[in-house]
């Protein structure tokens, strides 16, 4: 497996609103700030970009600020282990990456919590946020019939 080492003063896991804001603040004082995220781009779930629309996300202003402060971004990298103090391992498409840090900020956000029921693992059964993520990434459900179960705030 290909391993390459990356080093920074402050490592932030998660490039959503909290991670970006933390990076902007951290970059004022730290020498080297890195954000790592397992998604292919920034924004997290709240600022997930709809591929069919121009990018008007508030993430843009934060991104500009973060990049302007010299923050480094690593996307498509999934942190899966912390073998010791000051080191995490991330899985990428090119293999495992070692990332050394002095301080770590977790901005890993939230996820949907689904109540299991018979049939919930069948293909084409997904969370409301899951379907929204798929639609934003190019899936059209126009003209399709969708059964919605539940009445929570995401609906």
């Amino acid at each position: 497996m290909n391993e390459s080492r990356h080093a920074c003063d402050i490592l932030i896991i998660g490039a959503g609103p909290a991670g970006l804001a933390a990076a902007c603040r951290a970059a004022r004082g730290a020498k080297r700030v890195t954000i790592i995220d397992d998604n292919p781009g920034p924004g997290g779930q709240i600022w997930r970009r709809d591929q069919r629309k121009p990018n008007a996300s508030p993430a843009l202003a934060w991104l500009r600020a973060a990049r302007g402060s010299g923050v480094e971004f690593i996307y498509g990298a999934n942190v899966f282990d912390q073998p010791g103090t000051g080191l995490v391992l991330a899985e990428t498409r090119d293999g495992v990456r070692e990332i050394g840090y002095r301080q770590l900020i977790l901005a890993t956000g939230a996820r949907e919590r689904l109540l299991p029921f018979p049939g919930w693992t069948l293909p084409n059964v997904c969370g409301a946020g899951g379907l929204q993520a798929l639609v934003k990434s190019g899936l059209s459900i126009e003209g399709k019939r969708v059964v919605v179960a539940g009445s929570g705030p995401l609906l």
Partner: protein, 82 residues
């Protein structure tokens, strides 16, 4: 009009808008499911954000790739467990 990307899912050509994830391409391809559980049940994306690992497919020979986290690329070869 968005740029279109062509990739293969289970050997069939699928066209998707640029920026689509592999999950979207697999659904458009009409594949019955994405992967099979250890007991052989078909599974598909549940969370869409890289948490549930139910959307795993083989992408360009790499098994267990979470298709919801990988953007489509021209000529990509995707295999589901069918």
């Amino acid at each position: 009009m968005l740029e279109q990307i062509t990739l293969r899912v289970n050997g069939h050509a699928v066209r998707v808008p640029a920026g689509s994830t592999v999950s979207t391409a697999v659904i458009i391809s009409g594949a019955a499911g994405f992967r099979r559980s250890v007991s052989g049940e078909l599974r598909g994306p549940l969370c869409g954000i890289g948490i549930c690992f139910e959307c795993r497919v083989k992408i360009d020979g790499r098994a267990h790739s979470r298709s919801c986290q990988v953007p489509c690329e021209e000529g990509m070869d995707v295999l589901t467990d069918e």
